[in-house]
Amino acid sequence: MHHHSVSRRNVLRGLGGLGATLAATSSPLRAADPSSPANPEDRKLLFVLCATGGASIVDSFLPVELGEVPNSASPQTLNAYPGELLVQPEGSTIRCVRPLPDTDFLTAEYSIEAFLRDHYQELTVVCHEVTSVNHTVAQKRALTGAGINRGRTLAEAAAERHGMGLPLANCNMAVGGYVEPGDDRSLMPHAKGEIIASPLTYAVSTHGSRGITSSLAPAQVDRARRIREQLEVASSFGTTYRDARGRLEYLRMRSEVSSQLEEMDAITKLMLLDPSGVAELGLSRSPLQQDLYKVFPGVLHDQWQQQGALAFMLAYYGLSCANTMSLNFNPAFDGDALVGAPLAFDFSHNFHRGAQNVMWGRVLRVADGLINLLKRFDYLGDPALGKMWDRSLIYVATDFGRDKTRPPDEWNYGTGHHLNNGSVLLSPLLQGNRVFGGVDPSTLLTHGFNLRTGESDPGAVLREPEVYSLVAQALDIDFPGRRDLSAVLA
């Protein structure tokens, strides 16, 4: 082994961090192959929106009004809201917190109220606790159900179940514990997470040559690739490591999956960049770009909206069936407006109510966009397959809840992490317009429900495995030990 060996391995491992200029030529779009190994008729689509930092359910869809808190419980010391700040849209059995009149230097770009008004029929709240108040640990457990399915994340399980034949079955654009792979080493290769660092420019990752300024013709590159395969066999290295697992898997990806991405013209289909910046490189915009720009108007500068847009394209074109997106801990701006708090929901440490209100709006803004797109478009562009929404589930994952108490009569205060919380799910596969479980107005602690009947049960405590099981069951994912949550299904 010569002196370059270590650095080469490191190059391979850290490739995603390398920058390169993009470029390429356009080519006609092809329809997704309907005869892919996993039957698209039965395929389910999972979208995981990670509300990083601790999105509190009693500050969104399960708020308690001050007047509901018994005097003996000292309402002025609990995170209960004045009645005028709560609203229950007509037709909704769920109420929520209105836009707060004062969010200080944070700017709300969307409201919980607007979301509930438009989507109460498909909104399901499941009350539960979690088992960690460490961000990274809790994030991972939110996606693995605290390890109930051999450590597989929901996205991995969904990709293995529904993603055979899809080149990027499981895409993960998240951060921290939400981007970590699961722990099941027996997971099929196609279900492993494809980590995406830059949704805006991800399209160029799907082609090996287009867009690079070069005088070479595509046929010349293809010829070089064919000769490369001959060199792989002819070299002593190729002979010595002929059966090495890592090398074989790499060669399989290169010869099968990479070529599939190029043949599907993913570089055009996923192109989010403004055409004025790519046309001179021979690249074309995605046919969906104008629709996405309308639904996600901040897509060129807001990575959260970029994630939503890319996830939709990946699903629509049959490239993936599981997409994980997350807020990150960096502040986000729209011009001079601070629309994403530093530390995301964890800014609640400093400014609980303002951070929760603004950040819930920010999460739901992308959920709203996704739902609208999924309801509008036929899966794979094929009317026979129905609207994408009919097969979709959006799981709003979060780390944990927040403290339920506040300094007496304070409006601006900070909260710590709390195990008690609830999760939001959006899907026609679940009973919508319903809260499963409930909240005790004397403590603001949520409680679970009877798994068999779905009835609220103040003595029931559900945790990550139940949430995981619910999503899995809705997506036809079976595994030993799965809880039966039929009562929550549509």
């Binding site: 010569h2 370059h4 060996s5 080469r8 391995r9 190059v11 491992r13 850290g14 490739l15 995603g16 961090g17 390398l18 920058g19 390169a20 200029t21 993009l22 990027l168 998240a174 951060v175 921290g176 981007v179 970590e180 492993k192 494809e194 980590i195 660092a197 830059s198 420019t201 160029v204 990752s205 799907t206 082609h207 090996g208 300024t213 070069s214 005088s215 046929a219 010349q220 590159v221 010829r223 070089a224 690739r225 000769i227 490369r228 060199l231 792989e232 002819a234 070299s235 290295f237 890592g246 898997e249 790499y250 990806m253 999956v257 990479s258 991405l261 190029e262 790519v278 990150n328 801990f329």
Partner: protein, 128 residues
């Protein structure tokens, strides 16, 4: 021009604290792009002052398969990328880059670009 993260992970930006067990689906494509761009840039620089492709007339046609310029060029590439000389069978395979799919000779710059790309993206270069 945009700076693009070619798939993969941004460990600091994304808070991914442990390396992934295996390359991603898009890793081979990312490597192709990098090698293609880098080799092309080398050829263009060598037109002005040759460093790697010193035995080629980059404004002319590709060398003959049995020429000293051909062997010297691919030996340089193998030494630089793999730290060894090419085996005769490998050299023979690379002679196919001297012509296009129709059998017509390619330019010296195209041969230089393609040969560089081909050797640079072998698994021997990546893993060894």
């Amino acid at each position: 021009m945009h700076l693009a993260a070619l798939g993969g992970n941004d460990p600091f930006g994304q808070g991914l604290y442990e390396p992934l067990e295996s390359p991603l689906v898009t890793t081979p494509l990312a490597l192709d792009r990098i090698a293609l761009a880098a080799c092309g840039a080398r050829v263009e620089r060598d037109r002005l002052s040759a460093v790697v492709f010193t035995q080629l007339d980059l404004a002319g046609e590709a060398p003959q398969a049995d020429s000293e310029a051909f062997m010297a060029t691919i030996t340089t590439l193998y030494q630089r990328f793999l730290g060894r000389d090419p085996e005769p069978t490998e050299a023979e395979h690379i002679t196919e880059l001297l012509v296009d799919d129709a059998g017509a000779p390619v330019s010296a710059s195209a041969f230089a670009h393609l040969a560089c790309f081909t050797v640079a993206t072998t698994t021997e270069f990546l893993y060894f």
